[in-house]
């Protein structure tokens, strides 16, 4: 019987195999949040995670965030929906996220961290999974509970955030193969690193605009002389 099935199995196209691996890495997110120490280690060292899944988690995180702003019952959230720019809000989440990843990578490579940028990014995205898993049902829950029962809502809310922070901590620890103390120091250092990066970006853009301004004025001067 098994011989009959063989041709079918060998007919798995590369595309289908990739899809199956994608699904497996997505599912692996559930394992990671429940077994963070093993999970994050295998995620990068045993290649059990994928960038595609990480991107998916980040996208889902943003979608959850937007849905939360839009659909949470007004009893539990005071989002001035008429003033909110969703792109701006999303950018203000993604940009610091990336800058922090970059800052962490820049510092950890200098101090024998094992993680590549890709690994750090992946670990951080996998750490967002509890937020998605808890906040999405919370949107529904917020619409069936009343203001007096807000404590349930708030507890679940805090659980999702604390869980994410804990996962991010463990993730960094496992990715770089650091001790907990060293991870803590590096998290503080990462925040300062992110500030330095922001400063450099600001300087870069102001210099760039000056440089552009110089050439523009040069062009104008020439055009003016030629006429």
């Amino acid at each position: 019987m098994s011989t009959d099935k063989l041709p079918i199995e060998s007919a798995v196209t590369p595309r289908k195999a990739a899809w199956q691996r994608y699904k497996a890495t997505l599912r692996y997110g559930l394992y990671v949040i429940l077994h963070p120490f093993d999970g994050f280690w295998d995620l990068v060292h045993e290649k059990r995670g994928s960038l595609a899944a990480a991107h998916t988690f980040l996208a889902l995180f943003l979608i959850t965030y937007v849905l939360k702003l839009m659909l949470t019952n007004f009893q539990f959230i005071s989002a001035p929906i008429q003033y909110i720019n969703i792109y701006e809000r999303c950018a203000s989440l993604v940009f610091p996220f990336l800058v922090l990843c970059l800052a962490n990578w820049s510092l950890s490579t200098l101090f024998d961290g094992k993680g590549h940028f890709k690994d750090i990014y992946m670990a951080m995205c996998y750490a967002l999974v509890p937020y998605i898993l808890i906040q999405l049902p919370l949107i529904l829950i917020s619409n069936v509970i009343s203001y007096d029962e807000a404590s349930y809502y708030n507890v679940l809310m805090s659980v999702s955030i604390i869980w994410c922070l804990f996962l991010a901590f463990v993730g960094l620890m496992q990715v770089h193969d650091y001790t907990p103390g060293k991870t803590l120091i590096f998290i503080v250092a990462t925040i300062f690193g992110a500030l330095v990066i922001l400063f450099l970006i600001l300087v870069f853009f102001s210099l760039l605009s000056d440089a552009v301004g110089y050439f523009v004025s040069l062009y104008r001067e020439i055009v003016f002389r030629l006429y």
Partner: protein, 503 residues
């Protein structure tokens, strides 16, 4: 197509920007709106006028021989209006008959008092029996006289160790409660109001303003300054109140103007307080924003900064009205601390003030004293203002349906009025129309009431559909095991058949 979109979006942008520039053209961003209110998000919303100017009283209108000079305070009892004409060392009494105010008498001396005349009086109070109390600041006394201006007694510097004897006693504002106790707000005294019993005995201080300082100031003073520097700096002392008012229940309303903007944001400053008999602040604050007057002010305008309440008055229905001297505005709050309306501005026209100093009420009319203009502006409520009062009175009396109808009329005049949505919602809730009530509460962003209505609504829905809920739950519980069982027996049968074939 692309150009069409571009032109359209440009036109849209222009249309959006145009009203903005119109508003910005005013010096102060608010002057376009005379009466306004704040919405849930703290944004200013223009509203119909709650009060209009009825008349403006000047020295000439009252028929005074000597014009008023820097009057400091007003007091109203019944139809009588007392004006403290500080610059002329006298008290003026006028009476209202219908709409007209007529001058009654000048009170400038006390028969049998020592000295008999006043020196810069700053406030007065009159009790039910007609006894007049005058805060005679530069004579260091509060003098009490009967209605025929005969001296009864005076209240002088407390001969008590709790009162710093080196300080001179400068009574500023006074209030007298129904049993004759006198509360004096004295300059330089920061322990609260000086309290005298009806017989003139000093019995202590009440309602001290707490000393405010922040951690940074404290650290700076403790670690980074020398002893000499510290001696020169002001120490952390509580501040005096600006003005006081006693309501019909005997609670003292006090306003405070010395605070930082930072304190205001976290409701530490408490610019309006309602003091009980032991001096605790019991003002109810059930709104998203505490009663602090303006929530926003134009950057760079001359009158920049938070509202500073120079005076306060409380209507018989516990609605209190505070007078902001910075921008010449009146703020009305209901007993729950929700802003009813705000109006007023600076200027020379009727309804605008140069330097508003005192506010009093006569029924529901408001009287505002301007110390620079030497005038008293009388405001009467418009239909809109009266409807607001009527609705809250009806609600207090228990006429919920009537109050809802009145609130509906208010909404017809001002669709941005949150309190009306809440009022209608409340009455709908009393009539057990929960889902309608929820809609109204949602419009007003009233979470607590919405939650309450929602709980009843949820209960109703669950009770109505209890059969279906049980059926669905039962199905969810029963169907999967049954299906599993069916599948299992099917497989057994198949396996049996398979074996049969194999044999």
């Amino acid at each position: 197509m692309k150009t069409a979109i571009r032109i359209l979006s440009l036109a849209l942008a222009a249309a959006l920007l145009l009203p903005m520039t119109l508003v910005l053209a005013d010096g102060d961003g608010f002057s376009s709106a005379y009466t306004y209110n704040y919405d849930y998000w703290g944004e200013l919303r223009e509203s119909p006028d709650a009060y209009r100017v009825d008349q403006v009283l000047y020295s000439g209108t009252l028929g005074l021989d000597t014009p008023m000079r820097r009057p400091q305070s007003l007091f109203v009892i019944g139809d009588d209006l007392y004006i403290c004409d500080t610059g002329n060392n006298r008290i003026l009494q006028a009476r209202r008959e219908g709409q007209k105010f007529s001058f009654v008498r000048t009170i400038d001396h006390v028969e049998g008092a020592q000295p008999a005349t006043f020196n810069a009086p700053s406030d007065m109070a009159v009790d039910e029996d007609g006894n007049i109390y005058v805060s005679d600041t530069n004579n260091n006394r509060v003098v009490m006289m009967d209605k025929d201006l005969r001296f009864v007694r005076d209240y002088t510097k407390p001969q008590d160790t709790t009162f710093d004897q080196k300080l001179s006693f400068l009574p500023n504002k006074i209030v007298v409660d129904s049993s004759g106790r006198v509360f004096v707000l004295a300059t330089n005294v920061n322990k609260g109001l000086v309290k005298y019993e009806a017989d003139g005995a000093f019995t202590g201080f009440i309602g001290a303003n707490k000393a405010t300082y922040n951690l940074w100031d404290y650290m700076w003073k403790s670690f980074f300054t020398t002893k000499e520097q510290r001696a020169q700096q002001a120490s952390f002392v509580p501040t005096e109140y600006e003005n006081v008012y006693i309501d019909h229940d005997g609670f003292i309303y006090a306003t405070n103007t010395v605070f930082s903007e930072y304190d205001l944001k976290f409701d530490v400053a408490k610019p309006i307080r309602r003091l009980n008999s032991i001096g605790d602040d019991i003002l109810i604050k059930n709104d998203r924003y505490p009663p602090i007057g303006d929530l926003q002010w134009t950057e760079g305008s001359l009158d920049y900064g938070p509202s500073k309440f120079r005076d306060i008055t409380v209507l018989d229905n516990d609605i209190y009205i505070a007078l902001d001297g910075i921008r010449g505005r009146l703020f009305g709050y209901d007993p729950q601390g929700i802003m009813l309306w705000a109006f007023g501005t600076k200027g020379n026209s009727a309804g605008a003030f140069l330097s508003a100093r005192s506010v009093e009420h006569m029924g529901r009319d408001l009287l505002v004293l301007d110390e620079n203009e030497n005038s008293i502006t009388v405001f009467t409520p418009t239909d809109y203002g009266n409807l607001i009062y009527l609705a809250s009175d009806q609600y207090l009396k228990g006429d919920y349906e009537g109050s809802a109808d009145t609130w509906r009329q208010v909404l017809r005049l001002n669709a941005n009025y949150n309190l009306a949505f809440i009022g209608i919602g409340r009455s709908l809730m009393r009539q057990e129309q929960y889902s309608e009530a929820m809609e109204y509460f949602k419009m007003a962003h009233d979470r607590e009431n919405y939650g309450r209505a929602y709980r009843y609504y949820r209960k109703e829905v669950v009770e109505k559909n209890i059969v279906w809920i049980v059926v669905i739950l039962g199905c969810l519980l029963i169907i999967p095991p049954v299906l599993r069982q069916v599948k299992k027996s099917k497989m057994e049968v198949e396996a049996y058949e398979h074996r049969q074939i194999a044999h």
